[in-house]
């Protein structure tokens, strides 16, 4: 009996491997309008499989193999969006004469797996290797190997801090996000106001940069931090920490939080407490829609919406394509103070506050209601620079 079960399950193993081919084929077709539920198929929303097909659009089309390495994708809507944007940019590149085929590798936050996958990519002969790394150092040997093999290696989103390699770091300006939020909070609440500061993951470079911005703004605006916590970019933890801060009954005028703002508000809902005097920042559809709902009739809770664009990966791809085209960088494009790690800080493009809601300002050509409601709950605001935009702004 036991042997029978075991053999049956051995067969299950093999069947699972085989079955995936059938399922993979099935997933190709029905990918379109699920509002963000396509996973990583070949057909992005508007593209249509141009990556692997032929580049029939005339001119000298260059075939480019792209390997996109990611530290994590599962459970992380930011990273899921990151990958989707890269796919869109890869499809868009055909307009500039590049037929980009896209493959994604996820290392699940494991440095060993990342090393191995990078090694495999070098062996498989990819033209561009883009990495959103697990750690900020530790890949020097493999980067040098890739460059020796003539591969363009580019780092996106989480900065790679080694000064011994010459690669581009295309990252979002995290310090600006923290600084802008803190400054606006100070403007709304005034000096001496009490705030809770909930940071993200301690030990992570993006968080360190963002917190630097927050702290600078807090000092400048004269805000007083009465409660702290770390949510590690985990929505469950964000709600839990906010609930525990509420439990303490400390008097607070506003909440400064490093994304996951919608989860902090859920804690307020669950506890039946009145909303805070200020909240910022968040960047998801759920957050934007919630703020519109709360402030429907009058501004109850001032807020700020800032974008931490997952499209930074797609932007990095276009940087790499420019490098492939042989274009040289302009002088002075590197972020002051970070020239030795070749960091290019892309500023957030979308930013609006409750004041814009009242004034009826347009965001990305739409009214704020339209714009907010065009997002799925878990989708974050994103944008990416096209090949031409990158060329015009950063290259000669």
């Amino acid at each position: 009996m036991k042997k029978f079960i075991a053999i049956l399950l051995g067969l299950l193993m093999v069947l699972a491997l085989v079955a995936c081919s059938g399922n993979g084929g099935g997933q190709q077709g029905g990918g379109e309008g699920q509002g963000g539920g396509e996973g990583q198929e070949t057909t992005p929303a508007e593209g249509g499989g141009e990556e692997q097909g032929g580049g029939e659009q005339g001119g000298a089309v260059v075939d480019v193999k792209l390997a996109s390495h990611n530290a994590v994708v599962e459970g992380n809507p930011y990273r899921v969006r990151y990958e989707k944007d890269i796919q869109e940019a890869a499809a868009d590149a055909i307009n500039y004469g590049y037929n980009v085929s896209y493959s994604s590798f996820v290392s699940n936050q494991d440095a060993s797996t990342e090393q191995q996958q990078l090694q495999n990519s070098i062996n498989e002969g990819y033209n561009i290797i883009m990495n959103n790394p697990v750690a900020t150092t530790g890949l020097d040997p493999i980067i040098l190997q890739a460059q020796e093999a003539g591969i363009i290696y580019i780092n996106a989103d989480c900065a790679y801090m080694s000064t011994d390699v010459n690669i581009l770091n295309v990252v979002t300006d995290q310090e600006y996000l923290g600084y802008k939020t803190g400054t606006y909070a100070g403007e709304v609440l005034g000096s001496g106001a009490k705030v809770a500061m909930i940071a993200a993951w301690e030990g992570n470079q993006a968080n360190t940069d963002r917190q630097r911005g927050f702290e600078k703004a807090i000092e400048e605006q004269g805000l007083v931090v009465v409660a702290t916590g770390n949510h590690d970019w985990d929505p469950t933890k964000a709600q839990q920490i906010m609930a525990e801060i509420l439990n303490q009954g400390t008097e607070m005028d506003g909440v400064l939080i490093s994304q996951c703002a919608e989860n902090a508000l859920a804690a307020y809902d669950a506890a039946g407490v009145a909303y805070p005097g200020f909240i910022g920042f968040g960047d998801t559809g759920a957050y934007m829609q919630k703020m519109l709902e709360i402030n429907k009739d009058e501004i109850v809770t001032p807020y700020i919406v800032l974008s931490n664009p997952p499209g930074v990966g797609a932007t990095a791809l276009n940087f790499a394509l420019n490098e492939l085209a042989g274009n040289t960088l302009k002088d002075g494009v590197f972020q002051p103070g970070y020239e030795d790690t070749h960091q290019i800080w892309i500023k957030s493009r979308v930013c609006y506050t409750d004041k814009d809601q009242v004034a009826g300002t347009q965001v990305e050509g739409k009214s704020i209601e339209e714009y907010a409601n065009s997002f799925e709950a878990g989708d974050s605001i994103t944008f990416w620079l096209t090949f031409q935009e990158v060329k015009d702004t950063y290259f000669n």
């Binding site: 809507p77 899921v80 303490q248 506890a271 039946g272 759920a286």
Partner: protein, 327 residues
């Protein structure tokens, strides 16, 4: 009698008392943590605090009920977190913020919990692999299926009606979730203490060979405990989704360890055969209060982690030590 022998007598009697009244000890620890919280942060004496603590304790006590049964039977269920996450996602996806889907969600969730519990039970009991590893492997598969079925995207939310039955504050303090507790707690107490199944469960955990010889179907009893655990975890997932309003993959994975620790602090042991649900409820309260107390210290993240670890080890030292070889 000399003073020393009186002292020794007192300490050994105290030790015996601690070892035999573990549930009471858990309540005592909870009270200490409560007092500590009020000392550190006097403004905690407010109705938001009490409401939140009661709510979270009740949510934790439901998977802890299942975990208690499994541990008493001599096993361990690491799949609690994965099942909770799965049914939480099911809830938000099906309801999509609209009222009226509760029965549908309820029955599907219970079915999922029962099936996963059955698989857990059969694999741990019949196939003879260590329960911890097997339930963990199955939990991994359930987690991966969450991702495949949802494509990693979170969408939908629990219906407002369901959220109200969990979070609405009666008299401004007591969360409405006590209604669910009023049903589940007595049922669990009845199963463990009064029913024939409960008595057999304790026998099986205490000495499976002897129990088998008296005609108790050891395997069936154990598998049923896993099924209970799966069903209770599934229901807790629904309530959890109502509390969080939205859900995403792996949202409640932490409950696997949390429920285990809550049950252990409540006096149940890994060896099986002893334990009570009252202790598990007290253990759940201890876990929630501990997490809250640590937040109120406003420590930076690494210091909070270190303090958490030290307190946990101290708690375990109180009465979770196995017998020495000399005894």
């Amino acid at each position: 009698m000399s003073d020393k022998s009186i002292n020794r007598d007192f300490f050994s009697r105290l030790n015996l008392f601690i070892q035999t009244h573990t549930a009471l000890m858990a309540v005592f620890i909870a009270i200490i943590l409560l007092i500590a919280t009020f000392i550190v942060s006097p403004s905690s004496l407010n109705k938001v605090f009490f409401g939140n603590i009661i709510l979270l304790t009740i949510i934790l006590s439901i998977p802890a009920a299942g975990q208690t049964m499994v541990l008493i039977g001599g096993g361990m269920d690491f799949g609690v977190g994965a099942v909770m996450s799965a049914t939480a996602i099911l809830t938000t996806y099906t309801m999509r913020g609209q009222n009226g889907h509760f029965l549908q969600v309820f029955f599907i969730a219970i079915a999922i919990g029962a099936v996963v519990g059955l698989i857990n039970g059969i694999c741990s009991v019949k196939i003879g692999l260590p329960a911890m590893i097997v339930t963990m492997a199955i939990a991994n598969i359930v987690t991966r299926m969450q991702y495949i079925l949802t494509d990693g995207v979170l969408s939908g939310s629990a219906s407002p009606a369901l959220a109200a039955t969990v979070s609405y504050r009666i008299f401004g303090v007591i969360p409405a979730i006590v209604m669910y507790a009023a049903i589940i707690w007595p049922i669990t107490f009845f199963i463990l203490n009064k029913s024939r199944y409960g008595k057999q469960l304790y026998m099986v955990g205490n000495n499976p060979t002897a129990a088998g010889l008296t005609g108790v179907k050891v395997d069936k009893i154990r598998i049923i405990s896993y099924v209970f655990s799966g069903v209770l975890a599934a229901f807790a997932g629904i309530l959890g989704a109502a509390y969080m309003a939205t859900a995403r993959c792996q949202i409640f994975d932490g409950y696997a360890y949390d429920s285990l620790i809550a049950v252990i602090i409540g006096g149940t042991t890994f060896a099986g055969g002893t334990g009570s649900y009252a202790g598990s409820i007290a253990g759940s309260l201890v876990m929630i209060l501990l997490s809250n107390l640590l937040t109120s210290f406003n420590l930076p993240s690494p210091m909070r982690n270190i303090l958490n670890a030290v307190i946990l080890i101290l708690l375990l030292m109180l009465y979770n030590r196995s017998k020495s070889v000399r005894q």
